[in-house]
């Protein structure tokens, strides 16, 4: 088994139901120069630990939602609609 994710709209499903959208990144403020923009587009924290990330329920409601998952264990702490997600506390994205 891989792991389960709980879609905030549909409930728990196997991870193969979903498309992974990557770690949450912070958009550069204002007008980024080329270098800042490329850093935003390409570079990632890729943490071994708890990560806030995007998922799309591709084979279900087709809605995007957020999750917090430990990339060392794949344990999912929570999933939530973007507007209902807990405030980003220890988020490293800068």
């Amino acid at each position: 088994m891989s792991f389960l994710l709980t879609c905030p709209n549909c409930g728990p499903r196997e991870v193969t139901d979903f498309a992974f959208g990557g770690e949450v990144t912070a958009r550069p403020a204002g007008r980024p120069d080329r270098r800042e923009l490329n850093a935003y587009v390409y570079f990632r924290d890729n943490v071994a630990g708890v990560q806030r990330e995007w998922w799309l329920h591709r084979s279900g409601c087709r809605q995007w939602f957020l999750a917090e998952r430990d990339t060392r264990t794949n344990a999912v702490a929570w999933t939530a609609r973007p507007e209902e997600a807990p405030a980003a506390g220890g988020d490293r994205a800068a």
Binding site: M1, S2, E14, V15, T16, A19, F20, G22, E23, R34, R35, N38, A39, Y42, F43, R44, D45, N46, V47, A48, Q51, E53, T71, R72, T73, N74
Partner: protein, 403 residues
Amino acid sequence: MRDLLRRRRMWRRRPELKPRYDVVILGGGSHGLATAYYLRRLGITDVAVLEKSYIGSGAAGRNTTILRSNYKTPEGARFYDASVKLYEGLGAELGYNLLFSQCGHLTLAHSDRAMFVMANRAEVNRLQGIDSRLIGPDEIRELVPTMYVGPDTTYPIHGALYHPPGGIIRHDAVVWAFARGADEGGAEIHPYTEVTGMEREGDRIVAVQTNRGRVAAGVVVNCTAGWSTLLCDMAGVRLPITTHVLQACVTEPVKPFLDVVIVSSQMHVYLSQSDRGEFVMGSEIEPWTTYRTRNTLNFLQDLARHALELFPQLEHARLLRAWAGLCDLTPDYSPILGRTELENFHVSAGWGTYGFKAAPIVGRTMAELVATGCTPDLIAPFSLERFYEDRLVSELAAAAVSH
């Protein structure tokens, strides 16, 4: 004969870490050990390879050993071809039987579009002097009479990209031979030595911290593949990499009936038969990022289904084992090699699912960079800087399932 019974160590046990080395290599996989070996050939022997577990415990000991050079970009094809050429002479050079078998490599095309893309790839390859061509179903049947090439399947085979010098090798032997070669020259190999931090002064790394104490370093080379981001993070260097898991499995040994490597991107499957008779099979990476190396049932089910479409003879073969390893993926499916923004901290990373074939050329070029301070031409296109400048070297079409 008596030699067979004698217990000999492949490399010396080193009870103590010295307080300083000219070169500290992070990661005892194929790249780290190859770098240590080629440094020796350039006369640099005050070298330590620090490995958090046993030698070859990472992707070096988990890969499916496909070597090939039929990449999509001229930069990539040239680079990987130099590596395959080094592999051809490596067994003799290191005095070790690496069981390198250049049995040929077939990438199947299941659509007109795929045929077009592969024709393009064959042209790029031939311009680099690489043996690579498009073949039709008849020639495929001749090469692989045991594979099902009929029209009544989910993915009928229209043709294939045929790459005769491609093949398979014994991965553990490569690791051990590089380790022995480096050790003979004086490099120290330190297993169970985990790097936990780095001391940075300005744009230099002056020392690394490990679970066995502090080690000062003249130059640090990060060869930690799936873990690259974590070690670069300790140095304050960012990478455009995400870490994913790739799975593989083998069947019990069966009679030899396949002597070519078969890859199908559309069917998400690749297979080869090892010298022992096991079918070695794999698929694509899992799309989510993770540092957990576990297999999934989905993988085995999908893989078995597709493998049986090509080789119905395997119906009764039992799986012997399955495993998984970490892969460090870049946005363009090409590696990151050479300098970082720090003066003495170099990196070999972004190897995704295709880095084992590159071990010798990585070792040679990284050693040259350390020895001369100049970036060899062969790896210049793969600088970390290219992502800041948006000069990607896209191998997407040639590297997603074909490792």
